[in-house]
Each structure stands twice: as C-alpha cells, then as structure tokens.
Amino acid sequence: VAELAHNGRALVGEEVKPPAASTGALGWVRKNLFGSVGNTILTLLAAWFLVATVPDFVSWAFLKATWVAKSVRECGVEDVREGACWAFIGEKWRFILFGRFPFAEQWRPVLVCLVFVALFLASTNRRLWGRPLVVVWLGGLVINGLLMWGGIVGMTFVPTELWSGLPLTLVLAVIGMSFAFPLGIVLALGRRSHMPAVRSLCVAYIELIRGVPLISLLFMATQMLPLFLPSGVTIDKLLRAQIAIILFAAAYLAEVIRAGLQSLPKGQYEAASALGLSYWQATRLIVLPQALAAVIPALVNSFIGIFKDTTLVLIVSLFDLLMTANNATTDPLWRGTSTEAYIFVAAVFWVFCFFMSKYSQMLEVDLNKGRKR
C-alpha cells in the first residue's frame, strides 16, 4: 500500500522521502541489528559476549602486559600475572623464529624466509605463470639451499640438524608440495587409467594414505625407514620426515588433480586423439594444462593444509616453528609463558595461511569469470 501511495504521489510530481527510521545509520541499525524480536535477542547476546570477553582480553594482552623485562618474575607479582609477558617474545623471538641455527649466521635464515615470501609473491603474478615461474622457483630454491647449508663463499656449513624454526617449516612445506605435485599427477592419471593393474595400485595407495593420520607416516619414516634400507645406508632425519610429508601430500593432491581431470569434457580427449596425439602428448598438451588450471585454487588450499600439517614433525623431534616455541618456554627464567609463545607462533602461521586462503578465494572468482553466467 505504501508503495502504491508512493507511486501515486510521485506521479503528481511531489517527492516523498522514505521514513527517516529506514534510511541512514538508524535505518541500517534497525534493519541489521533489531529487525525482529529474535534478531534483537541475538544482538544483545552477541553484545554481551563481546563485553564479557574483549575488555578482559585487551587488558591481558595490552593494558596490563609487560613489554620489557629480564625474566618472567618481573612480569608479575609473586607468580600472579595479570597481563601477558610480551617481554618473553622480545627476548626469545630470534630463537623461536630461527632456533638452533648458529646465532652469528642467522642473517641466512632471514634471507631464506624473505626469498620464500618473494617466491610466493612472484607466484601471484599471472604473467609469470608457466615456464618463467618454474625457472624463478628453481633459482630461488637453489639460493635457499646454498644459504641454509652454506659451506661456500665464507659461509660456514650448517648441518640439517641445526635447521629450525620458520625456515624449516617453510622448507618442509615448499619441498613437500614441489615433490608431491608431480607424484600426485602420476597417481591421479593412474587412477583414471584404463589399465586395471595400474588403476588398482594407484587407488590402493591413495586410499591407504588418506585413511591414516600423518603421524603414523612420520613414525614410519623415523622408526621404520632405517629398517627398510640396506645396512650401512642412513638417511638424514629431516629428509625422512620430508619423505613422509611428500608421500602423504601426494595422495591428497592426487584427489584434487583427479577432480580437475574429471571436470574436463570428454570431447577434449577425443579431439586430442583425433589429431593423432599419443597418450603422453595429449596429456601434456591438452589434458593437464586445462585440468590443472581448473584446480589451482584447490591446489593453493592443499598447500595451506600441508603448511599447517608440517607442525606435526615436532612429534618426531624436528625443530619446526612450534618446537622452537616449546623449547623457548623451558628456559627457567621464562617459566609459564607458553600462552604468549603459542600466540606469537599462531600469529605467524595465521598471517601466512590467511593471505594464501584469501588469494585462493580471489583466484577462484577470477578464474571462473569466463564460466560465470
């Protein structure tokens, strides 16, 4: 009725404004916060929740926090701490980020992390996608390998046992993804193969790995792998964990890539064979470029998953970012600061994962533009 009246009046040329309560800030508040009885109750509940938690947290994290101190004792009175002891992070951040890497040489892991971040950023540049990006990544990885190991141009040699913290986490995730990716492609192609023996082997591998937790593979790599090797042959502990991560990630990537293969219309396969391309030619030139492009956002998500999963290596006592944080809190001067340590590490992980997931969402929208109706 109101609409009719509005139209009628508008016809005579008289302009009628909507009621004041339905526009502007007030209107927005009414519509979005107090639209109905239920809505009002929800708003009040949410407001109560915020009032109950946010001031306490702000007081703990900022107002009553100690930013400079020599030990945890100075952060509170007689073991009772009202606020966070960020002085602990100020004292230990280098150990948490770079761990047992020789202190004087820690500019190297800093550079390694920067190179990784630069590589991530370079990967978002779509003009580089394809062969240039592969070259950039190979170059970056070689530089990082040299920086981590050292042993040339005056850099002391640092064995993998001393690699720790953020660079180790990044190495495990990036190398895990790089090697799992081709393996995943092979497994995905095998699973879609017409040869029953190949197909069943691939299905068995994928389902077996996806059915067990990563921890069991890490245990296997650290405790059982030495038993599988001929006597006298030993493999570095980091490499063993890395192999477990690669084998684990490959099974998950295979399923992602299989989804891409399945999304390809059958006509593409038929057209490829009509052109006289062999299986490998068709796969390399027609199938994979389209199938992989369709699953790029899912691949980014898989990488986030691998990145988060690398924290599990601390259970087989490798010094990843979480393990260094754990170790930092065992310092008798800084007892009872685990909460601060974990929040710091969580912030580091969060920044990486959040931006990668935002990028993947953006990419998904962007790559689907052509298909959107």
Binding site: N32, L201, S216, L227, S338, F349, F354
Partner: protein, 396 residues
Amino acid sequence: MAVDTARPGVRPSRTAFYNDPTIRAILYQVAVVVTVVAVGWYLFHNLTTNMARQGIASGFGFLNREAAFAIGEHLIDYSPADTYGRALLVGLLNTLYVSVIAIVLATIWGTILGIARISSNWIVRKLALVYVEIFRNIPLLLQLFLWWAILREVTPPLRDAWNLLPGVWISKQGLIYPMPKADPAHLWIGLAFLVGVVAAVVVHRWARQRQAATGQPFPSIWAGVGLIVGIPLLVWLAFGAPLVFDVPEKGRFRFTGGSEISPEFTALVFGLVVYTAAFIAEIVRGGIQAVPWGQTESAAAVGLTRTQALRLVLLPQALRIIVPPMTSQYLNIAKNSSLAVGIGYPDIVNIANTTMNQTGQSVEGIAIIMAVYLTISLSISLFMNWYNKRIALVER
C-alpha cells in the same frame, strides 16, 4: 635397482607390438607390477635382515606381555600389570571416545556457526566470520598446545579452583562437575527412554502412512518429542522423583564426589571441535546458499510454513551438498585425534608409541596404528556413503 632390471625387458617388445594397444597395455602393467613387487620384495628383504641383525623378534607375541606402564584415563579397567594388548585396547577406546564426542559437538557448533555466517544480524554474521577466519588458519596442533597451555597456566591450582557454575569447578586438575547419584530408578528410566524412542518411530510411521492415504497431517515430531521425554519423566515421577546429585565438595587437597574431566581430554576435545567447526561452518553455509532462492519462494507459494519449508524443501536439498564434504571432516576428526600424543592424552597412537619404545616392535606398532585408523576411516566412509545414498536425489 629393480627398475633397471625390469625396464630393458620391456622396451624391445614395445617396438615389436607397436600397433597393438592391448598388448602394449598388458606389457605396461606387467612392468609396473613387476617393479612394485621387486621394490616391495627388496624392502621386505632389508627389513627381515635388519631385524634379524638387531635381534628384534617379529610378530605380535609382545601383545601378551606385561605392559608395566600406567595410563591416566581408561574406559575399561586397566592397571600396569595388564598386557600390552589390553593397553592398546584402552587406547583404541579412548580414540573412539574422543572422536565420537568431537564429531557430535563439532557438528552442532559448526552448524550453528554456519547459520550464523548467513544470519540477517550483522554483528552475529561478522562474529562468525571472524571466528572462521581465525581458527581455520592456525594449525590444529598449535591450537591444542595453546588450549593446553591456557588450561595449565591461566587456570588456578586446585586449592583456588574457579567455581564456574554451582557445583562446577575448573582448575589445573581439569573440570569437576556434579553427577546424579546412582539410583535403581536410573535403569528403568533408561528403559523407558528406549520405549519412548520406539513409540516415537511407530507414531511417525503411522502418521506418514495416514497422511499419504488421507492427506490429514499429524504433528508427529512434537508427539515423538513428547513420547521420548514424557515416558522417562513419568517413570521418574513414579519412583518418587529421586534427584540427588553427587556434588563435588572442595577439600584442602582434592575434591570429593562429582565427576572429573582431565585437562588433556578437555584440551583435545575443545581443540578438535573449535578447529573442525570452522570448516563445518563453511560447508553448511555453502550448502544452504547453494539452494536457489526460488525454492524458498515456491515453498511459501504452495503454502508451507517457514519450518515446513526448511524441513521439507530447503534442508533435503542443502544436505545433498553438505554430506560428502562433511564426511571428510568427520574422517579428519578421527585422524586428527591422533594429535593427542602431543598433549599426552592416552589415545591409540600415544600408547602404541610407548609400546614401540619399550619393546622395539616398531613395525607391528605402526601396523596396529594404521590398521585401526583404516578401519575407523572405512567405517565412517561406509556409514556416510549409506546416508548419502539415502538422501541423494532419486533419478530415473
């Protein structure tokens, strides 16, 4: 090594039968199988020689030996004098217990969050968004450590335990809460509950048949709730309404009475639920948003109420999209419960790890872990596939 011996045998024959894809396929497969078997045999050979050299006896005989380690939490009777086999069984039950509780709670919490994500209330919507973005971007193990640290560092020692609710206390020792005192009536109330469930199912079937035959609806949901709640309530009243709670009493050094949840268990379940619910929320939101708006409008146009529209039109369609990814989240919960080893909750991985360290039987220990998780994964997959088939669109 095995690859080198297998390949040269294949290449000449490939050129010989170049034009026959069938023969080529067979040769490829023979090559692959021979390679896999050869590598497998080589690894197995190394394994047996290494184990013989280190004097590790293979086989599951150790399961009957005395475990000699204590387990903090056990659902069945256990003491260090029991066997490794029983210790592993305790671990398995703990894994299942944690997984089931976490799956149920994560489903409820995740669904609430998913609906909150598309709520018309701005503040609720934004809060849910912030929750999801924070918790799914932090590694689960780190979250478990964080909750575990907060439970240890922020909660007071037992003598200063916080009184959360009347009778509910939290301290470094975990959560202590009141339990109803055992009463003979409980057995009968339990039986009455079962009777109520059966009666509700019968009424629901009858109501559906009647509606199909005569078109007359019957509020079978409310009748069902009434039966399931009402019958046990009547039995309880018939027994003179016994309601005595075993309320924990705070002593100087420990609590007497009540039941207790350990900090490890609390941190593990809490962490699993908080983390997985963020993913479930996105699945639920996606599923609901995937149902076209026209469906809601047509449901209203044919005269369904909002509840009916939700139950009969929207949910069945949303579930079809929600169930498959939900299955993988449930599988993730079961597998992620293995992170218990990080905070010391005695799940199967933790106990198998202790067993491996004590006996050196790492091959058997890992085989047990893998077999357990494969069985759990397979069972969840089978159940969810069955459920998925039930709700799937019936096409020609």
